[in-house]
């Protein structure tokens, strides 16, 4: 197992994923990117990029347009060669062990790159054959991936005639044909209708349960927040955050927020809350019995605050830490403007 290397950025190091999470003895880190730089002519696409993805995790890769997401993905999947720094996939260097890396990955680009004149079966049969699967294995594998992506009813349909959502499923089936350990998905949900998007997310959840590591680049932050165990936020070629998703959503450098609801109206409840030492500000959510409490320091733990609130002897209905939405985290970490 590889130890995390200092990135030079304490914030990133502090936020690095816990190597023990999701890892079994003998496991290598699924993706290990260290000091990665890449430029196109005069444009520095990636600058000292460092992050790790744990095996059997679902890792989101988020950033504005032109942040360098696709470049990083192409470097991981061996389509581009790193100019400096290193990229390892399950402990194998993408430059030295290209073929071995390719056997372990499945990359789905952000555009529909398909042989549209083929039928679904022909398309999958072609890739299965190209990966060297025997005919008998091909039958089993194609049947399995078609069932997983719920495309077995359209096996003989020409790809040209399929809807965008169905084509995306065929693309996913193709990625799974060589049974890769790591799936690299670049904007898999872009252009899909809500139903197709939800169904795609369900397939991804099923794949994670099957033990696949999934590295997904997406703009649909709400779904990523629900889906991903960890996330890397990249902006203008630099990593702004990498680590567990929950940590990002909890993270606020100056204050912590809690949401509490009381069972019945209380007189001067806001004032009483404000009177607590730990509380910095209180906001009532419209005319409801729900209050948002901001604590002045992160040192205040949930238990201390809860005990203080209970001491006020009010009928408490619910008490929970108020998480930031991923959109807010994203906006906080990334800069304005399009590259």
């Amino acid at each position: 197992m590889n130890d995390p290397t200092p990135t030079g950025n304490p914030a990133i190091e502090a936020m690095s994923p816990d190597p023990s999470s999701g890892m079994l003895p003998g496991d290598a880190v699924a993706i290990d990117v260290r000091d990665l730089n890449h430029s196109f002519k005069n444009h520095q696409a990636l600058h000292q990029v460092n992050f790790q993805v744990m095996p059997r995790s679902l890792h989101g890769f988020v950033g504005p347009n032109g942040a360098g997401k696709t470049t990083a993905l192409k470097l991981i999947c061996t389509l581009l060669q790193p100019q400096s720094g290193s990229v390892q996939v399950f402990g194998k260097d993408v430059l030295k062990d290209t073929k071995a890396v390719r056997q372990q990955i499945g990359f789905m680009p952000d555009h529909f790159s398909m042989y549209r004149q083929m039928t679904v079966t022909e398309y999958l049969d072609f890739f299965a054959a190209a990966y060297g699967l025997a005919v008998a294995d091909r039958r089993t594998v194609i049947g399995d991936v078609l069932a997983l992506t719920d495309m077995d009813g359209r096996a003989d349909s020409p790809i040209n005639g399929l809807s965008r959502g169905m084509q995306q499923r065929v693309g996913l089936a193709r990625v799974l044909i060589n049974d890769p350990d790591l799936l690299l998905l670049d904007e898999p949900a872009s252009g899909l209708d809500p139903r197709a998007r939800i169904e795609l997310m369900e397939i991804l959840r099923a794949l994670r349960q099957m033990g696949k590591t999934i590295f997904i680049s997406s703009h649909i932050l709400s779904e990523l927040a629900e889906l991903c165990d960890s996330v890397t936020i990249i902006d203008r070629g630099r990593v702004k955050y990498t680590g567990r998703m929950r940590r990002l959503l909890e993270q606020n450098t100056e204050s912590s927020m809690y949401r509490l609801t009381i069972a019945e109206p209380q007189e001067r409840f806001e004032e009483r809350l404000l009177g607590l030492d730990e509380v910095d500000s209180v906001t009532r959510v419209e005319e409801t019995l729900e209050y948002r409490v901001t604590c002045s320091s992160q040192i205040t733990s949930a238990n201390v605050l809860l005990a203080a609130v209970l001491n006020l002897e009010v009928p408490l209905e619910s008490f929970q830490k108020d998480l930031r939405h991923l959109n807010e985290a994203f906006m906080d970490l990334t800069e304005q403007g399009v590259r």
Partner: protein, 602 residues
């Protein structure tokens, strides 16, 4: 209308200025002209010809003719199809640009570019007058002829571009239109010679000749004749001008009809094609050939034996039977493929396991989905059978003495030419479609080397040559005796230098063909259309400047140093072979590098 048209026109000029293949073409043309000047100078030094100016100007004129013909089949034919392929034609219409505005805006820059390329030569070719053998009037007449030809080609190219859905189809249609008048002329000539109504047929043949590309050759031949006294503007110019205008008008009339639907092929179309293709399996072709060819051969031999024709050898067999055999083959191969497909078990479309395993998978894909699969192969078998039938008929009809060697020679020649063009087109298209459909990353991510992928695609292209391969092999076997004689005769001669020189010629030819195919693949990765034409021009340029020029230099050196050209010619051939081999290796690695680069970009 004018504003939109002008905007398109300006954009077209700007885009052409930014396209490096356009500059490469101009560079090659200038390079060729400089080389012709050198040839004229060398000729005068060696006292080979008496009119170096005429020779210099003839070379330039015919090179222009070839360039315009190639441009007609690639440069003009993409004018509207490129908008269809980019799906921007609808946007232009929505912007309020009328049909004629679009046509003028798209054709205008290309026509201007082509005419400017011709115009810019005009002051420089006056040099031919000072070299001797040509008059300014002949130069004027030649350039007017070529200008008329450009207008005709541009009009026809535009029409094809409007009618066709893709540039590839437009190019195919353009070729059909170019060759149709020639075939019509041939048919009229045959009918007239067979006793048809003479004057009427002659008149019809002449009228067809006006729009035929050979009218340009005919006109150039008459202009180049010493003592030319005709007018600077011939009937060919007016005919081509009218032809070009008529084609433009036709394109205008057809525009709405053929551009109403968006370009993207709909599911129904794909479905229909797949159903037809799915019914004909690739494996059905060899099985059909296995049945049809021996069957026809047995019928042929049995009937000839029964008539007693075989007693005096094959030459005594009536060659009408070869004609009927070829026509029989043309008809029976597709029928055989269809029958085998229907009757053979397990030929269900979409059956898993049809694709060839491992590194051969891309070859299977290209053979089936780029080169036409079983349908394409059966079609080409029919085409080459019909060509054989036509050759037999023409040899017989022209009154030339019939021999298997003559037929074999024609088949061999046509086979090599068509095979090379087919291979270049197949491989080029194999690479081009990967870029067009953005499927290259998927292929490059397979756990194979780039070289293995490239060779697999080459194999796919080569396998599609089975019909032309059979045609060429039959031609070669018929021609074998004379080929063997021509190859072995230099060894009998007392001069070993000649024998070595003769041995090097096929090697050099083979290297040229390999380079041409490689260049087609390279340009397919580089330019969107016209890659075969560009490869052809580049190969032609390399051939002319590289080998011929080198030979001339060596000849001069040889004559000065040894008093004879023999050793110097061998040295020149050797140099050419080394240069060609180097270029083949460089292009090979260039293709690999380009593939990696494009996969990372897409």
């Amino acid at each position: 209308m004018m504003r939109g048209s002008l905007a398109l026109f300006t954009r077209g000029l700007r885009v052409d200025c930014r396209r490096w293949p356009m500059h490469l073409l101009r560079f090659l043309l200038v390079g060729a002209f400089l080389f012709f000047l050198f040839v004229a100078w060398a000729n005068s030094r060696l006292e080979i010809g008496t009119a170096p100016g005429l020779m210099f100007f003839s070379l330039i004129s015919y090179t222009n003719f070839v360039f315009i013909t190639l441009a007609g089949t690639s440069f003009f034919t993409s004018s509207i199809t490129e908008e269809k392929e980019e799906q921007t034609l609808g946007l232009l219409k929505m912007a309020g640009v009328s049909a004629v505005g679009i046509l003028l805006g798209k054709l205008g820059p290309r026509l201007i570019n082509a005419l400017l390329l011709l115009a810019i030569q005009y002051p420089f070719v006056q040099l031919a007058v000072t070299l001797g053998g040509i008059l300014p009037r002949q130069i004027q007449a030649t350039y007017i002829t070529l200008a008329g030809y450009i207008v005709l080609m541009s009009g026809m190219g535009l029409f094809c571009s409007v009618v066709a859905a893709r540039t590839r189809s437009a190019v195919a249609l353009m070729h059909t239109i170019i060759w149709m008048p020639l075939l019509l002329q041939l048919l009229l000539w045959i009918t007239r010679s067979s006793g048809g109504t003479g004057p009427l047929m002659q008149a019809a043949q002449d009228r067809v000749g006006w729009v035929s590309i050979w009218s340009v050759v005919g006109r150039l031949q008459s202009v180049m004749m010493i003592g030319f006294s005709g007018g600077a503007v011939g009937i060919q110019f007016y005919a081509h001008l009218v032809g070009g205008a008529a084609a433009f008008l036709l394109a205008w009339l057809c525009f709405e009809r053929f551009t109403r639907q968006p370009h993207t092929p709909g599911p129904e179309r794909g479905g229909r094609l797949l159903r037809v293709r799915g019914g004909l399996r690739l494996r059905a072709l060899p099985m059909a050939l296995f049945v049809v060819i021996p069957g026809l051969a047995i019928v042929f031999l049995a009937f000839s034996w029964f008539r007693g024709d075989l007693q005096n050898g094959f030459d005594s067999v009536p060659h009408e039977w070869v004609l009927w055999e070829s026509i029989g083959l043309a008809a029976l191969v597709p029928l055989g493929v269809l029958l085998v497909s229907v009757l053979s078990p397990g030929s269900r479309r979409g059956a898993i396991g049809g694709c060839w395993p491992g590194v051969l998978a891309p070859a299977w894909k290209d053979l089936n989905f780029v080169s036409g699969g079983a349908i394409g192969l059966a079609f080409r078998m029919t085409l080459y059978s019909l060509i054989t039938a036509m050759l037999v008929f023409l040899i017989d009809f022209s009154g030339a003495s019939w021999s298997w060697t003559t037929l074999g020679g024609w088949m061999l020649g046509i086979g090599i030419l068509a095979g090379t063009m087919e291979l270049a087109s197949n491989i080029g298209r194999g690479f081009r479609t990967e870029i067009q459909w953005q499927t290259l990353p998927g292929l490059m991510l397979l756990p194979r080397s780039v070289a293995a992928l490239g060779w697999s695609k080459v194999l796919g292209g080569i396998l599609a040559l089975i019909p032309v391969g059979i045609f060429t092999a039959i031609g070669a076997s018929l021609f074998f005796t004379s080929v063997w004689e021509s190859l072995s005769s230099p060894f009998d001669s007392s001069n070993p230098e000649t024998a070595v020189f003769v041995m090097m010629i096929p090697l050099q030819m083979g290297l040229h063909l390999i380079l041409f195919v490689e260049l087609s693949a390279f340009f397919a990765l580089t330019v969107r259309w016209g890659y075969v034409a560009l490869a052809f021009i580049s190969s032609f340029f390399l051939y002319v400047v590289g080998s011929w020029g080198m030979a001339m230099v060596m000849m001069i050196v040889g004559m000065r140093t040894r008093g004879g050209p023999g050793g110097a010619l061998i040295l020149s051939q050797l140099t050419t072979i080394v240069v060609l081999s180097t270029m083949i290796v460089v292009t090979y690695f260039g293709i690999g590098r380009k593939l990696r680069h494009l996969a990372g970009q897409s």
